[in-house]
Symmetry: C2
Subunit: 281 residues, 2 copies
């Protein structure tokens, strides 16, 4: 497994693969890998010849007062896991390599980036799209795999790729969950024992809504109320948002008449968790 820290080296590696007609699959991560990430790698393997995983905790997608500094990192463990997965190359640059002095360029997807997580985290998605665009240019993938846990991020990156005519297929991969249903996330490590137990309510509330939809309850106002009741029954939880949206346009939906995505963000203590599910009428 090649471990690459420099942009030029990674780009040469990738262009070389390209000239050999190898199909490159990229899995961009912020490290501290869990089974969710590993499932993205499996997905990428199905679809490409060479797998590149990037590890970069991107400062520009964290807001003031967010958890950039304390975001969990464990490079050695990550590299061990990636070696076991037989990844071909790991791109793990320093911050200054990605954002040298005088860096001035940004990429932005309007509308989609202001809603939901973008409203709670101003500038977050601009940070994401800019760094992902850079990672795409550096690693030159044919496909890139993104987890559906960050559903809004996946849609925004897909939109950016289409709008900018990138010759890259953006592949979604389903959420991987803990035994009690909590969506896997590096941030779950922030939770103390009691909070961790309560956090299961997030997915439970999504399952409850899904079940109610199955039973013919299609008014999203009613469903949101039910979910809110469940979340608020816990001690450490506080709802950031719960929204019912069109899975492509991300526009809000009042009544579930077509496949709809329920997006949510919930604070559990000082930890913000996100989750989502698809429901069909």
């Amino acid at each position: 497994m090649k471990i690459i820290g420099k942009i030029k080296e990674q780009q040469n590696y990738s262009l070389n693969m390209k000239y050999q007609k190898m199909k490159i699959g990229l899995v961009p991560t912020m490290g501290f890998l869990h089974k969710g990430h590993l499932s993205l790698i499996d997905k990428a393997k199905e679809l490409s010849d060479k797998i590149i995983v990037s590890i970069f905790v991107n400062p520009t997608q964290f807001g003031a007062g967010e958890d950039y500094r304390k975001y969990p990192r464990d490079e050695n463990r990550d590299l061990k896991l990636l070696r076991e997965k037989e990844v071909d190359a790991v791109f793990i640059p320093k911050t200054k390599e990605i954002y040298p002095e005088g860096f001035k360029t940004s990429c932005h997807v309007s509308e989609l980036s202001k809603k939901y997580c973008g409203s709670s985290r101003p500038g977050h998605f601009e940070g994401v799209t800019t760094v992902v665009l850079k990672l795409f240019n550096i690693t030159q993938p044919d496909i890139a795999v993104f987890g559906e846990k960050d559903y809004q991020q996946y849609i925004i990156i897909k939109k950016m790729s289409e709008d900018l005519n990138l010759p890259i297929k953006i592949i979604p991969s389903p959420i991987i969950r803990e035994k009690d249903g909590l969506a896997m996330s590096s941030r779950n490590t922030y939770l103390n024992r009691e909070q961790r137990k309560e956090a299961a309510i997030v997915y439970e509330s999504l399952l409850t809504a899904k079940d109610l939809v199955k039973k013919g309850k299609h008014e999203t106002g009613f469903l949101k109320k039910k979910m809110t009741g469940l979340i608020e029954s816990k001690k450490y939880t506080r709802i950031d948002y719960i929204e019912f949206i069109n899975p492509e346009t991300l526009k809000k939906v009042k009544k579930i008449e077509k496949p709809t995505r329920i997006l949510m963000a919930v604070w559990v203590g000082k930890t913000r968790l996100i989750d989502n599910i698809e429901v069909r009428p």
Copy 2:
């Protein structure tokens, strides 16, 4: 010569060339080609195996009240000239192909885009960087040639390419001038006979400044005054800006101590002309 209107076809053409290890040179234009454009093609030919010229009058880089509608177009003449130049492919898409319904993404280079021409034409450079990024992704060049007449544009695109880690070399090519020194531009066709005659003062004022610098006059305030006097001596001229700048950072310079670029924009009647020159102490 291949004439291509569809993004997918152009991208496949280019990726195919890439797989054959052909070096692709791109010359992006807005059509209505003149000797300036043709010199860019010559430059591209020196540096690459296959030449792609794009012709696209990009609506998003024109402001409200600017000349998007009346911008001169002559597709047949352009194609004839490009055939004579033995260009390999012309990418000439419709507006809807580049900006389909629901297009939402933009790319922006901060600071550099707000100054000078960006101050006179708000949003102009954001339109330029976004479309150029798209054209890069569509045509997959190894090098792209830009004329120094649009000096600020060249620097902004170079900065964007570096910041986004595009594997593309941005090549500048010198200004081509009419016999009386007027920088070649598709917009020169807007000038009536009298205005056309007066327009020569733009370059004359740059030459005068260059001459004064040679003679030891290094205070840009003094030089700007001299240039202003010359421009204002004409009937139809009105100065938009004259600036002395660092050729890389585009920051203003008070005294010419290193190679410096003089940038200027001048209205001649209702036509806005730009020009620039390098001066050395």
